[in-house]
Subunit: 287 residues, 2 copies
């Protein structure tokens, strides 16, 4: 996703400096643009930039890339510059980053995205921002290069909390989809016809309309990786523990996704719609 997002920034005319742990992922951007340059560390990117974007897979990686005292971006950023972290991470870490930035006169925005690979490629990401209103307003033109549905959700951490809410909504939604298909199949219904008949009414959802047909085709390619979704679910559950919040549907979904990862070969590398396989196995029957 970072590569696509970076490509849009370059195309929009921003002079851009890149760093990735895997330099090969950046070769395209470096050769084709003519204007992008390479740096040897996150810190080195930061030293040459007014706005720094970060996007990595896991919160502990975001912590390292941003907060590491030797190589991290905050160590290299100038006072008055802005950090936009697009990693899906924890609200708590977002607040830590915001405070660490503030102490050095740096503005920070937590800005996790949704819309996946396709959204990143087509610049149609949803971007959920947490931070000050001022920082949001000054960075909005840059964010508009990357996405369409861009919202300022509140203070530091609120972008991450909104993304976490998004993942909570998807969790039981995916259970609903899988159970609906299992029930319809066991009842002998034509599954395509069933999706068509119910998708426009009160049972309708993005998951049903988008993942339903892929499941029927046996297409379990990611979209969104099971491993990454489990990471997000773990962030939510750890937030729930912190806030003393009980969400039984979330717990059920997390258990089922961990079964998918642990019991299916390369389950973690499948798309989230592969959850149907857990239900098929649980019931000893295929769709």
């Amino acid at each position: 996703m970072g590569r696509s997002m970076c490509g849009h920034l370059i195309k929009a005319g921003y002079p851009t400096t890149l760093y990735s742990r895997t330099k090969s992922k950046c070769e395209d951007l470096l050769t084709s643009s003519g204007t992008a340059s390479w740096a040897l560390s996150p810190r080195a990117v930061a030293e040459r930039s007014d706005i720094v974007f970060t996007i990595v897979g896991y919160p502990h990686e975001a912590k390292q890339v941003i907060l590491d005292e030797e190589t991290g971006v905050l160590a290299g950023m100038k006072s008055g510059s802005t950090l936009i972290d697009c990693t899906t991470s924890s609200p708590e870490l977002a607040v830590t980053i915001f405070e660490a930035g503030k102490a050095k006169g740096i503005h920070a925005l937590d800005a996790p995205v949704s819309g996946g690979d396709i959204g990143a490629r087509n610049a149609t990401l949803s971007i959920m921002c947490g931070g000050t209103e001022g920082t949001f307003q000054t960075t909005l033109p840059v964010l508009q290069v990357l996405g369409k549905n861009i919202n300022h959700m509140g203070g530091p951490g609120c972008g991450q909390a909104t993304k976490a809410t998004n993942q909570v909504l998807i969790a039981s939604g995916m259970i609903a989809l899988c159970e609906g298909l299992m029930f319809a199949s066991a009842s002998g219904l034509d599954l395509e016809k069933t999706i068509e008949a119910v998708a426009s009414g009160a049972a309708g959802s993005w998951s049903l309309s988008n993942y339903g047909p892929r499941i029927l085709k046996g297409d379990f390619k990611p979209g969104f990786f099971v491993d990454h979704y489990i990471k997000d679910l773990d962030i939510v559950l750890s937030e729930c523990r912190r806030m003393d919040l009980k969400l039984p549907g979330m717990e059920l979904a997390t258990n089922l996704y961990k079964q998918l990862r642990d019991e299916q070969e390369k389950g973690g590398e499948m798309g989230t719609q592969a959850l149907i396989k857990v239900f098929e196995r649980m019931n000893g029957r295929a769709l």
Copy 2:
């Protein structure tokens, strides 16, 4: 719902005979139409009709209204006439009714609807039909008076199985909605803004867009009664037992809805969006 549906049939010019256990519910229709007449039993309706519609609350009521040997509609129907049962009932009972009809030369369609009171009033119901293709085709013009999204789902019972699938999809979808709102609220987010930010993406659903705002307004009026939804969930679970199908999200939803019915004053008479109250109680915090 029966009253609204019947009103559309009368308006469309069909000579109509009515029966309801509560005659007062029909007074409007009888006085305003000038053409509708009253009968003293379901059987008496059937004796004067080529097409008989039935819609009641529970499967045991449908069984009585249709199959009772003294007063039921099948006892009064002529060979060649058609029965359309719009009750949300079990696929099994639909097959029993179909077979009982067939033995007397009567065509039967199971045709449960979704779209609620509003759909009935505006003639925008979804109608999910099970029965022979021939019966579906000959009754389609009458069904089109009542609804918009009308599908022939397969043989007898397939309409009920589709409606049950619809209710399975809604079950975990309502959990998703409630848990998303609880999480967002505990995280200190603005809930209206959160719904707006996520509803158009992968977390989107009919429930989120329609029930979310009602919950935020504290509007727990039915829409769709908790008692009726529990009836539907019990039909699904009994089908699951019959088909040896395990659906843990469905079981969770059924338990939560029964808590709502049993622990809240008049919980059964609330709309299904009142499920949020169970989550509020479970967590000792209001939205």
